[in-house]
Symmetry: C2
Subunit: 411 residues, 2 copies
Amino acid sequence: MIEKMERQQGVGGIAVDWSGLYATRMGKVTASDIRERMKLLADRSIIQLGGGLPDPALFPVAEAAAACARILGDPAQAATALSYARSEGHEPLRAWIAGHMTALGAPCGVDNILITNGSQQGLDFVARLLLSPGDTVAVEMPSFIGALRAFDAYEVRYAALPTAVEAPLPGGAKFGYLGPDFRNPTGTSLSLAERTAVVEKAAAIGLPLLEDGCYEQLWFEGAAAPSVFALAVQAARSVEACGVLHAGSFSKTLAPSLRTGWIAGPSAVIRKLVLIKQAADLATSALNQMLVLELAAGLEAHVVRARALYRRRRDAMLRALEDGMPPGVTWTRPEGGLYIWLTLPPGLDGAAVAERALMEDQVSVISGAAFYPVEPRRNTLRLSYSLASEADAAEGVRRLGRRIEAMMALA
Amino acid sequence: MIEKMERQQGVGGIAVDWSGLYATRMGKVTASDIRERMKLLADRSIIQLGGGLPDPALFPVAEAAAACARILGDPAQAATALSYARSEGHEPLRAWIAGHMTALGAPCGVDNILITNGSQQGLDFVARLLLSPGDTVAVEMPSFIGALRAFDAYEVRYAALPTAVEAPLPGGAKFGYLGPDFRNPTGTSLSLAERTAVVEKAAAIGLPLLEDGCYEQLWFEGAAAPSVFALAVQAARSVEACGVLHAGSFSKTLAPSLRTGWIAGPSAVIRKLVLIKQAADLATSALNQMLVLELAAGLEAHVVRARALYRRRRDAMLRALEDGMPPGVTWTRPEGGLYIWLTLPPGLDGAAVAERALMEDQVSVISGAAFYPVEPRRNTLRLSYSLASEADAAEGVRRLGRRIEAMMALA
């Protein structure tokens, strides 16, 4: 066959050059620094204060193994687990999530829930539902980089979404994206007053909101304030009239690679998103959804363990920062989640610090600039306490502090 | 909290009306008749000749249970299985697929493979890579409905992709989509001469091709001809210079709900698609990818069983059609895959036949019109022999024949 084709075509005679063929939307899409850094995770000599990965020590491995055995050991369940799920999601899991949202103050039914491959797919779908090229989306500055990459795919512009109570929201945006709980990348949260205000202000100008709720269960200091979604549902007296969509996830509470999250919102919007799910990948794995449903029975106990571990690590990292950072460096004090945000003295480039810390000090942190869709504040870094042991994190912060001090002296 | 909000806002005072907010691309997206019909699958009194679902009796349940136990029983493997996979995919599975593609005549390396959530996600990603609103995509008429829904999301126009050896390809399209093997919905295949010709003609006008290879292993009468991808790789003497992308899947050979497929192509194109994967849902479930890799060791034996079952069912359905269809009805004779395509006498509407067959005869078939993106031929039906027993299929075809005959008499 090969020889025959060669005779017909000549060597390389029918090559296609792809480089000029890509759609405009591909122009802004570039490799995520974080995803690239994840490739370094296999190198055990590097202290990982970069990516916000859940600690695998927390994964419910034994429970997952038992659940798999139960599901695949029952012929009827096994057939369901390996057959296409409905695009909306596995009905019993949707019902569980509806109950979960209801318990958190946002009364929902099954028809208010779409299962997605983690909350990331929910962000992509909402962007696909609402955004056309040239549209504006309002985001907190800085914002979760995965959300920015999802929105970039629709060739959008960005406006800042201020969250102070009195700050006016920008006009003309198609929706606003926000993460009220210990958010990625800053670790900061919105107060109840700020949440209430953003719901009111957004509704007043007809601005839909997309709430990223993937960290809301990881609180350390008493339960988080009600979600923006819950406040909007309560204010509209029904989920069907509310102007907020909520992206949820089991990635930070159970395990990321079950790739199971959800979007909650008015059923009319969910029906539209189901059509997007059909076109995007038909359905989320039924096996994974059934696994998550089994594991969800133990979610609370599991989250209690995660909170205790991450709180201890946050405390250790805050102590290490107090001890190790030179004057002029400031940082956030998160009440949950996985992240601390460092602000360096003006003029010091976080990307240069991150690069030298990785190459010379074997410490991985993330430059803050990438979290800004426009006008990056370059003197910033994101640290995570999720993965490194307390001793490693203390050593890593010590090295980072020395590196920053040395670079400040030269600046 | 609820009372406080009510006092502030009044009842329903901050509702948002979503109906005018959707992006233009949502206009063409409608519910798939097939997906809607799948909801009827639970009704056991209906004879299922509609959806092309693999028979759950073929699923490797015991093997999957054993593989789950092995993976989750080993601490290192369990940590990998439940942590985020790389966006490119689980490296050992990519290597397995590269070897599989190489064995099928298209020499590939790991960098030529992106793991996707089934081949459907691959179709969406290629559309996202190449299509802008208003662009034209060339497709066979009729075509797989899932591909049309994926392309619709990018607000495209359609041209016909003729596959006869001498037929010229349309100019001005961004890419051509084709399924050369026992394709959905017609069950027909391209000859080797037609495959070779489409590769040459497409390369001559610089038209990239997207090959849907999800049925290629389900041949009944001796191995399928080399894939269009393999011919293009051979003609270009390297995958890096070839103008064809190949979407593959384990859904029809192992089980659909592991949601694991792939795109094969030049590594520069794959790198772009990896960025799309990051923005769309970060990564496919590592657990599912590791499961597929374990099951892939037994793929050949498994596919042999599937071929034998589906060949027997095809034969039975062809016999039932000979016996039960009135004169004037014609159908395809597939050499593999899951589908038979019926052409009714002109003027008889397949949608009306499908509706009455379902409601009055308890037989589910799919109207053919939905498989045409433009100018539907309405006197068509798609039947599948994948799910019903031979006896049920014979009875279903008998009822369908009587229904068609009765409607012909009235037409």
